[in-house]
Symmetry: C2
Subunit: 462 residues, 2 copies
Amino acid sequence: MSRALASFLCALCVPCGEAAAATVDLIVRNGTVVTMDRDRRVVADGAVAVDRGAIVAVGPAGVVARSWRARRTLDARGGIVIPGLVNAHSHAPMVLFRGIADDLRLMDWLQKFIFPAEKQNVTAAFVKTGTRLAALEMIRSGTTTFADMYYFEDQVAEASKEAGLRVVAGETLIGFPAPDHPTTKDALAYSERFLERWKGDPLVTAAVAPHSPYLTSPEDIQAARALADRYGAPVLIHLSESPDEQRQVRERYGKTPTEHLRDLGVLRKGVVGAHGVWLTASDRAILKQSDVGVAHCPQSNMKISAGVAPVAEMLKEGLRLGLGTDGAASNNDLDMFEEMLTAALLSKHATGDPTNAPAAAVLEMATLGGARALGMEDRIGSLEAGKRADLVVVGLDHARVVPVYDPVSHLVYAAKGADVRQVVVEGRVLLDDGRVTTLREAEVIGEAQRMRDQVRRSLARP
Amino acid sequence: MSRALASFLCALCVPCGEAAAATVDLIVRNGTVVTMDRDRRVVADGAVAVDRGAIVAVGPAGVVARSWRARRTLDARGGIVIPGLVNAHSHAPMVLFRGIADDLRLMDWLQKFIFPAEKQNVTAAFVKTGTRLAALEMIRSGTTTFADMYYFEDQVAEASKEAGLRVVAGETLIGFPAPDHPTTKDALAYSERFLERWKGDPLVTAAVAPHSPYLTSPEDIQAARALADRYGAPVLIHLSESPDEQRQVRERYGKTPTEHLRDLGVLRKGVVGAHGVWLTASDRAILKQSDVGVAHCPQSNMKISAGVAPVAEMLKEGLRLGLGTDGAASNNDLDMFEEMLTAALLSKHATGDPTNAPAAAVLEMATLGGARALGMEDRIGSLEAGKRADLVVVGLDHARVVPVYDPVSHLVYAAKGADVRQVVVEGRVLLDDGRVTTLREAEVIGEAQRMRDQVRRSLARP
């Protein structure tokens, strides 16, 4: 019997003598599997069989064991097996600016710290080290895919690939000189080379990333759209993050940022708008109709007092809604467990209704919702035969996660990034009982410390 | 030279040949010491010398080393040394109900889950195991003192003492039959025996704990006050948590809960009002004038949509403001690091001003502020010679806490409970590089799992 057929039968849970002979690369067993499949199955003593980077079967451990033999077994030790978390909006290398300045108004923060620090420090080496450091943090806290917009995105892609993570990466197109490109025209040319270079890569999805409706000109946004169309690439953009942005766009174009993008012909599947705090009902209808994704970033929004996104509404309306950390300079980490908790709490607080943003919906935002926001739901976001093998084992051996009444609720309200025990991306084990297999952790941390010293010195200069 | 004199001189940082001969129980070295003393000193390469349960010196490592020799050294390995965190409001044994029911309206949650589960399961053994489980979680996440109101408080006190934690414990006086006492009169009699039993204990401070202005009668609240006065004991009470409470108290007494307590003659130093969400400006003036403490519980408040406490105002007005997790059934953990982060983010969000609740103020709420709320600032809350030796080492060896620009900001925005490496209470090492020294972790967790099964069965019964 062909591997594909065996996989198909197993997915249907039909035990089959012949399939029992099939050997796969990896079986994850001895855990509760939260599949996030169409039926939102939770399999109490479940297993996931993985071969050649893909999931070939998900089901009760006994059934999987009858059909598949594994070259390698990963013991979840009674933990919870979930789809890898999807961080739908980040600026990964900014972990090197983690805590550079806090408790400031947005403009003070940007103009006195972030922009000067970026201008003086952001180089290819900085971005490479920053992304490696971010990758360590993401792997250790269960993120397997992240969407990134920053500078030197080749280095982001290279470091992510080296770490074994899945990334959707886009070079930021911003209306002023960036650390790597003096003009947006240069950044667009770079973007095209970037798209060409990473075409067909199994882990790196090259995107185009106009910064925002207020910092990127209409012409540049349209050029970005055209480029993305030529390569079938996603488009990453900030959208309706702050009241200031709303005001600026309204003054300049007489529209909301979403209406502005619609009128520029930019909106379609594969576009991800980050934040979406100030989306109106009519904006949301436009985004829904255009199949556009939204990345909700509650911690960053709270930290800079940007407002609160209409999460309950977006959930009700069925938008492609993911969850993101934003950069670690305004968070100050890349921990998607904390982001899930904050998303649930903030929505309940903001609406005055504790039934809003229930655990299941929030877990979905961090997994399948993020995949949908990025237009990747055919490949990632749930544990189902045929999808790529991105999964995370959450340990339940720590007092803080004992006892468990409901695994889904537990993932959002009790489990922490630190409970992540194993991480698999594209079938490869990136975290194995506390050890990151792909990066030299001590070296990366040492290099990050040195860059911190350099950043400090640069800010001290008059 | 006497030990006391040597201690005094060392506190003044006067190196002294004779003092060099003095031997102390413990020196914590090789860390950045965030003292929270009057000058909010942060000592870059600092050390803390501890003897007979008390801090005898805090200062630069070299100065401390010249004056003191240690029987035991604790290596902070470049981490941050902070005063032990103070959880100013909790119901520790409720960790056994962690996640029993989430995403519900308060009354559904209480009446369908919490009250029935408590009625059928809360016994002395349940409280003992629950407190042990809570103690494991608290120790591992850096809490050294917690204020507790629940039932079977003798078991809470016994288990805390066994764990080595400092506790302010009060038997809840509630207007309906409690798991351990059919009437408030019985609970008051128990409270008196409880106060008598723990008199003078170095770790256990017995308190009196009328539940709230809406569930405890005026007579019982006054009886509680009289009892507390006889023993010089703290009074723990819920105060202005929900709009419902405000309405009920207004309807019954024509006043705010704070005015009601003032008029009952209850308010003075040592009273801790938990939540304080709906405090008016006039309420806050009353609390300030009466020296009453407030325990801010942002995660619980958000989760049940109770509203947001006027933190910026309370900070400005100089109230005795601490931070609490509330019970783990509405949180769902006892992690004070997460609570600090949420306190900072929620205040910024609620006020629209990102300069509100800055890291230094939030760290103070979780340390010295909590001590002040509990009326214990002469003994705990900061690292200063003369105070009890309650301290925590936060490790900086994990990618998620690299790099560090500002240690205080880092503690609030980046560090997690899981970064806690060492914990000392009353000079005793409770957590030693990841190992809890006072409790048998596996046994406690096993027992908690069994109790979870029992709770589940009890809720399934018709």
